[in-house]
Amino acid sequence: MHHYHNKKHHNHRTLAFYHYAMKSGLAYVNPDLKLWVGIISLVLCLLSCGFTSIVIAVIMIGVILFFGKVNVKEYWHLLRIPFTFILLSGIVLLVDISRIEEGIVFISILHRYLIITRESLFTASKISVKAMCSVTCLYMISLSTPMHEIIKVLRKWKLPEIMIELMFLIYRFIFVLLEVYYNMKTAAKTRLGYVNLRRSYQSFFGICTNLFVIAFQKASKNFDAMEARGYDGNLRFLESEKPATKKQLGLCGGYFLVIIILLGVERILI
C-alpha cells in the first residue's frame, strides 16, 4: 500500500460517509436490499408514534455497528451534527410564548411568558425522537452502500436515463474537483493565503472561481476522452452482481414482520 493513498484519504475527509461505505462490512450485500430496507424503515419510522421507531433505530444502529464494522465513536461523531439540528428545532417546537402563566413550565421574560405545555412537550419529543431514529435509517444506507451502487439501483427503478448519466458523471467529478480544491487550498496556504479572515475570504473566493474554470476545462477534456472511446450517448459500465442470499432475504422479511406487528400494536394502544 502506498502512502499516496493515505494523502487522498486525508483530503477526502469531507466525504467520511463515502469512506465508511467503501470499507463497510456490508459492502458485499446486495445494494437493492440495503436500499429497500433503509427506505421502508424510514417510512415505518415516520408512520410510528415513537416507540416502534426506537426499535427500528436500535436495529439499524446494531446492523451498522455489528455487521458494518463502523467504530462506535466515529458513528457517534457522525450523528452529532444532525442531532444538534434536531435539538435546536426541537426547542422551537417545545417553547411557546404566552401572555398568561400556563403550561407545565413558564419563565417570565419582558412581560411575557415562555411556556412549555404538556402538549408541546409531547409533540416536540415525539418529532425529535422520530427524526433521530430516521437519521439512523439514512445512515444505514450511507454507511454501507457506495453511491455508484445506489445509482445502479436507481437505474433499475427507471429514473430518466439522462439523470442516471448525470449522477454517474457528477459522482466521478466530485472527487476530481475535491482533489483540485484541496491542492489549491494547500498551495494558497504555502503563500499565506489564510493569514487572516479577510485574506482567507480572498483565497476562498479565488479558489472557488478558478475551480469553476477548471471544471469547465476538465469537462471538455473528459468529453474528448469519452468520444475517443466511442461514446455515443449511452453510459454503461461493468457492474458486479451481488445477489441477495436466502438468509438475508429471510432476515429482512422477519425484521419487517416484527416491525409491522409492533406498529399495529402501537397504533391500537395509543
Partner: protein, 276 residues
Amino acid sequence: MRGVFSSDNYLAWRRKDINMSMTKHVLKVEHAYFSYEEGRYALHDINVSINKGEKIAVIGSNGAGKSTFFLTLNGVVKLLEGELYFHGEKLDYSRNHLVKLRKSVGMVFQNPDDQIIASTVEGEISFGLFNIGMKTKEVRTKVNGVMQEMNLTEYAKRPPHFLSGGEKKRVTIADVVVMEPEIILFDEPMASLDCKNTALFREQIDKLHKRGVTLLISTHDMNFVWEWAERVIVFADGEIVADDIPTVIFENDEIISRASLQKPLLFESEKYRNKV
C-alpha cells in the same frame, strides 16, 4: 545501442515507405487542416501515413499541434480540410465510420483524471467495450483478461481516485488496450511517472509492439525517442517539419532549432565515442 544500426534502419524504413505507397496504410492523413480559432491553424497541411507495427515518436514544443494531431487520427477532432484514410477507406465522419475508427485507434490521454469517468476500475475499463456494442458477458471476459495482464485485478472494485498516479496511468492504458486497437496513441505518457512506473510502461509498450500494435508516442524526452523510436515526426507551429528516422532528425541542426528540441544525451555521447 541503436545508433550503430541506424543506417540499416534507415534503408529498411525507406524501403517500407516505398512499399507502403503501393500497398495499404493503416492510417493516412492528406492535406489536413484544423483550426480552433479563426485565422490560426492548429494543424497546417499535414501529410502522414502510418504503417502497421511502426514505433513512432511525435515530438515538438507544447502547443505545436501534437495533441490535436492525435485527436484527428481518432476522429474526435474533425478536419476542416483534407482527408483521413483508414485502411484505404476515406473517413466520412458517419457514425459507422467513426465507430470503426475508434475501435481501431485508441488514445491514452496525458492526465489520467481527464480520461477516467467510471466509479470503479472494472467499470472504467469496460466503458469502451460497451460503446462498441459488446455484450456484457464478453465484456466481462475481456476486462478480466486485461486486468490480469496489467496487474489491476486487485483494484477491480476500487474507485479510481484511490489509486496512485502510476496505477491510474495503468488503468487508462488498460482502458484502451482492452479494445484491442491496431494503433495506440499515447499523449506524453511518462510525464509524471517515477522510474519504476516508467520501466513498467516500457515493458507494456514492448509487449504491445510484439503483438503488432502500431504505437505513436508524443513526448519531450529525447533520450526515450532516441532509444525507442523507429520513426520520428516533428511538429512545429502546427506543421510537420520533419518525418524520418531518429539519426537523421537529430543530425539536422536546423530541425532541432526550428522545433526547439534538444539532442538526446546518448546520441551526443555515442557520436563522441565513435569519433574517439
